[in-house]
C-alpha cells in the first residue's frame, strides 16, 4: 500500500488509464493511508470521503465507456482550506469561518475536477495564511512528518505535510510571502509559486491581494509541471489574471542545462542563514555546473529591505481584505445592541492573535499621518526590489537561493516572538513583492531534516524553473525520500 501512496501523480494516472488499478482502489488506498498517519501528522481539517469515492466511481464508469481521460484522471488531491470547495466548510483555520460553506468552487477547483482529479480533503494552515509554522491554526497544529516535534512550516503546512507523508500525491497551497515554498522545503517536497496572475485567485480567500498566488505542492517536478498546466490560465473572474497561451510545461523537463546561466545573489547567503544551509546551496551549485550550467555570484542590493517592505504591504492589504468579516453576511456573529459593537466583538472572538496583530499593523500603516511614511514608502521600496531582479535577469536565466534560512524549527520555538517568526520567510518574500515565479526543490538534508533550494525566474518563465529543478531532481533523487513515520498496519 505504501508503494501506491508514494507513486508520482503522473504514474498513478497512467496506471489508472491502462486499467491496472481503478480510481476507487486508488482513493480507498489513500483514505486508508490518511487514517493511519493522521493521528501523528494532523494535516487535514476536513475529509471528503464519500464525495471522493463517488467521484472515483464516476471516473471508473467513464473509463469503462471509453471516454477520454483528463491529465489528472484518478489523482487524489488535497486543497488548502482557504480555497473554496462547495459542499464543504472553508474555514481558513479561523473560528470566524468555522461554519462557513462557500456557495461556489474556486476556479482552480473547477479546473482540477475537469482534469479528472479527485478532491479528498482540505488541509490545515496558519489562520488566514498568516504565519510560517501552521501553529496559528485555530483548530490544531500540524506536525512535520520528518520529525514530529518540529513544525511543517507554513502557512500551507497541512498541504506540504500531507504530500510528504504520502497522504496525497498532490496538494494546492497559496503563497503570499513563501507559504508554499517554505513548508515544501521543511517537508522535503516540491512547491511552486507561479508568476503573479498566472493562476486565477477566484475562490481563494484573500490575504494580500497583490501578493497572493495559488500553486502546487508535489513530490516530483514532473507532477508540479503537470498540475500547473491544469490550473494556469486566464480567468475572467480574476481581473489580475494574465491572458495568453500557456506553454507545454512538461516539454521543458530535460536532464541537461547546457548554456543555462544561473546567478546566486550573495545577500541570500549572509547574516541569519545557517552555515549548513549555505553548504547545501554550494553543493547544488556544483551539481548544476556538472550538468552544464554556468553558475556565478550576483547581487540583489535591496534584499535586506524586502522583509520590512513586505510586512507593511501585506498587513495593509490584509487589514483591508479582512474588513469583510463583520458578522453581517456570513461567518461568526457575536450579537450586541448596536451593529458596530457586534462587529468589534465578533472580530475579537473570531480572530486569533496573529491575525489581530497584522490587522493592527496594517491599519496603523494605512492610517492618517502614517500612510506616507509606511505604506507608500514600502510601495516605493517594492519598486527598488523589482528593479534589482530586472537587472539580475539581464545576465541570468534564473537565480539560486536557499528556500529557508534554517531547517524546520521546533514547535513553540518562535511563537512568542513575531519578528523571529517573520525572519523564517526572509528568502522567499522578495519574490512575491516582485511578482516572480519561484520553485523550492529538496536539495539535501541537514541531520535528519530535509532542506530546500529556491530557483527564481523572470515573469512567466516557469518553464525555466521546471528545467533546472528537474535536472537537479535527477541527481538528488529526492522523490524516493520517505519520512520515518512508523505506521501501525
Amino acid at each position: 500500500m505504501e508503494d501506491i501512496c508514494f507513486l508520482p501523480a503522473h504514474v498513478l494516472r497512467e496506471r489508472f488509464c491502462r486499467r491496472e488499478i481503478s480510481a476507487k482502489e486508488i482513493v480507498t488506498v489513500f483514505l486508508e493511508r490518511i487514517k493511519q498517519v493522521e493521528p501523528k501528522v494532523r494535516a487535514f481539517l476536513t475529509l471528503c470521503e464519500e464525495e471522493a469515492l463517488s467521484q472515483a466511481e464516476r471516473l471508473d464508469q467513464a473509463l469503462a465507456r471509453g471516454e477520454e481521460m483528463g491529465p489528472l484522471a484518478g489523482v487524489p488531491v488535497a486543497l488548502k482550506d482557504n480555497l473554496c470547495l462547495s459542499g464543504f466548510p472553508t474555514t481558513c483555520a479561523s473560528k470566524i469561518l468555522a461554519n462557513f460553506y462557500p456557495p461556489y468552487d474556486a476556479t482552480v477547483v473547477r479546473r482540477l475536477r475537469e482534469a479528472g482529479a479527485i478532491i479528498v480533503g482540505k488541509t490545515n494552515l496558519d489562520e488566514f495564511a498568516m504565519g510560517s509554522s501552521t501553529e496559528n491554526s485555530a483548530f490544531h497544529p500540524t506536525t512535520n512528518p520528518w520529525d514530529l516535534s518540529r513544525v511543517p512550516g507554513g502557512s500551507s503546512g497541512g498541504s506540504a505535510a500531507a504530500v510528504a507523508a504520502g497522504e496525497v500525491p498532490v496538494a494546492l497551497g497559496s503563497d503570499t510571502g513563501g507559504s508554499i515554498r517554505q513548508p515544501a522545503a521543511f517537508c522535503g517536497v516540491v512547491g511552486l509559486k507561479p508568476t503573479y496572475g498566472r493562476v486565477s485567485r477566484y475562490g481563494l480567500v484573500a490575504f494580500a491581494s497583490s501578493l497572493d498566488q495559488i500553486g502546487p505542492i508535489t513530490r516530483c517536478v514532473e507532477d508540479c509541471a503537470l498540475v500547473l498546466q491544469v490550473i494556469a490560465g486566464h480567468d475572467p473572474r480574476d481581473a489580475t489574471s494574465i491572458p495568453g497561451e500557456i506553454p507545454d510545461y512538461r516539454s521543458s523537463l530535460a536532464s541537461d542545462l547546457k548554456g543555462m546561466r544561473i546567478g546566486i545573489p550573495s545577500e541570500y547567503l549572509g547574516e541569519g542563514v545557517a552555515p549548513e544551509i549555505g553548504a547545501v546551496v554550494g553543493e547544488v551549485a556544483a551539481k548544476l555546473t556538472d550538468l552544464g550550467a554556468q553558475v556565478d555570484y550576483t547581487s540583489l542590493p535591496h534584499t535586506r529591505y524586502a522583509l520590512p517592505a513586505y510586512y507593511l504591504v501585506a498587513t495593509a492589504e490584509a487589514s483591508s481584505n479582512l474588513a469583510r468579516y463583520d458578522g453581517v453576511r456570513y461567518g461568526l456573529r457575536v450579537p450586541a445592541e448596536e451593529a458596530k459593537d457586534s462587529m468589534a466583538l465578533t472580530r475579537k472572538e473570531g480572530f486569533g492573535p496573529e491575525v489581530k496583530r497584522r490587522i493592527m499593523l496594517g491599519t496603523y500603516a494605512l492610517s492618517a499621518g502614517y500612510y506616507e511614511a509606511y505604506y507608500l514608502k514600502a510601495l516605493k521600496v517594492r519598486t527598488l526590489i523589482k528593479r534589482d531582479f530586472d537587472k539580475a535577469f539581464a545576465h541570468f536565466d534564473c537565480l539560486l537561493t536557499p528556500t529557508t534560512p534554517t531547517p524546520a524549527f521546533r514547535m513553540g520555538e518562535k511563537l512568542a516572538d513575531p519578528l523571529a517568526m517573520y525572519f523564517s520567510d526572509i528568502c522567499t518574500l522578495a519574490v512575491n513583492l516582485a511578482g516572480l515565479p519561484a520553485i523550492s526543490v529538496p536539495a539535501g538534508k541537514v541531520g535528519h531534516l530535509p532542506v530546500g533550494v529556491q530557483f527564481i525566474a523572470p515573469p512567466l518563465r516557469e518553464d525555466k524553473l521546471f528545467q533546472v529543478a528537474y535536472a537537479l531532481e535527477q541527481v538528488v533523487g529526492f522523490p524516493s525520500w520517505r519520512p520515518p513515520l512508523e505506521v501501525i498496519a
Binding site: 462557513f100 460553506y101 456557495p103 461556489y104 503573479y196 496572475g197 497583490s210 481581473a239 489580475t240 494574465i242 535591496h302 529591505y305 520590512p308 517592505a309 510586512y311 507593511l312 487589514s319 474588513a323 463583520d326 458578522g327 453581517v328 453576511r329 456570513y330 461567518g331 461568526l332 456573529r333 450579537p335 450586541a336 445592541e337 448596536e338 451593529a339 458596530k340 459593537d341 457586534s342 462587529m343 468589534a344 466583538l345 472580530r347 475579537k348 480572530f351 489581530k356 496583530r357 490587522i359 493592527m360 491599519t363 496603523y364 492610517s367 511614511a373 509606511y374 514608502k377 510601495l379 516605493k380 521600496v381 517594492r382 519598486t383 527598488l384 523589482k386 513575531p418 519578528l419 511578482g435
Partner: protein, 93 residues
C-alpha cells in the same frame, strides 16, 4: 512610539475589541516591529514611483451583460440573521 492610546485608536479604526492584556502586548510588539521596519527610512526614494501591482494590466472591462450569478437564496442562507431578502443587523443609528 506606540502608546496605549494609539493602540486603542488603531483598534477602533479596525473595529477590533481588544482585551487589556492584548493592548499591553500589542503596544510592545507593534513598537518592536515598527522600530524594525523603520530601516526603510534610510533609503532615498523621492524619485522612485510606488509599485502597486506587478501585472501591467489596465482597465479590465467586460460587456455590461447579465451573466450567471449565485442564487439570492444560496447567499442569504449563509447569513447569521436575515429577514426576507435582506441581511438583518442590530441598530445602526
Amino acid at each position: 512610539m506606540l502608546s496605549r492610546s494609539e493602540v486603542e485608536h488603531v483598534a477602533a479604526l479596525a473595529r477590533l475589541e481588544l482585551s487589556e492584556e492584548e493592548k499591553e502586548l500589542f503596544a510592545q510588539q507593534l513598537r518592536e516591529i515598527i522600530e524594525y521596519v523603520n530601516i526603510l527610512q534610510e533609503l532615498p526614494t523621492d524619485d522612485v514611483p510606488p509599485l502597486v501591482h506587478v501585472v501591467p494590466l489596465k482597465n479590465v472591462w467586460r460587456e455590461d451583460e447579465v451573466e450567471e450569478h449565485l442564487e439570492v437564496e444560496e447567499v442569504l442562507s449563509r447569513a447569521p440573521d436575515r429577514e426576507e431578502r435582506f441581511f438583518r443587523v442590530s441598530r445602526v443609528v
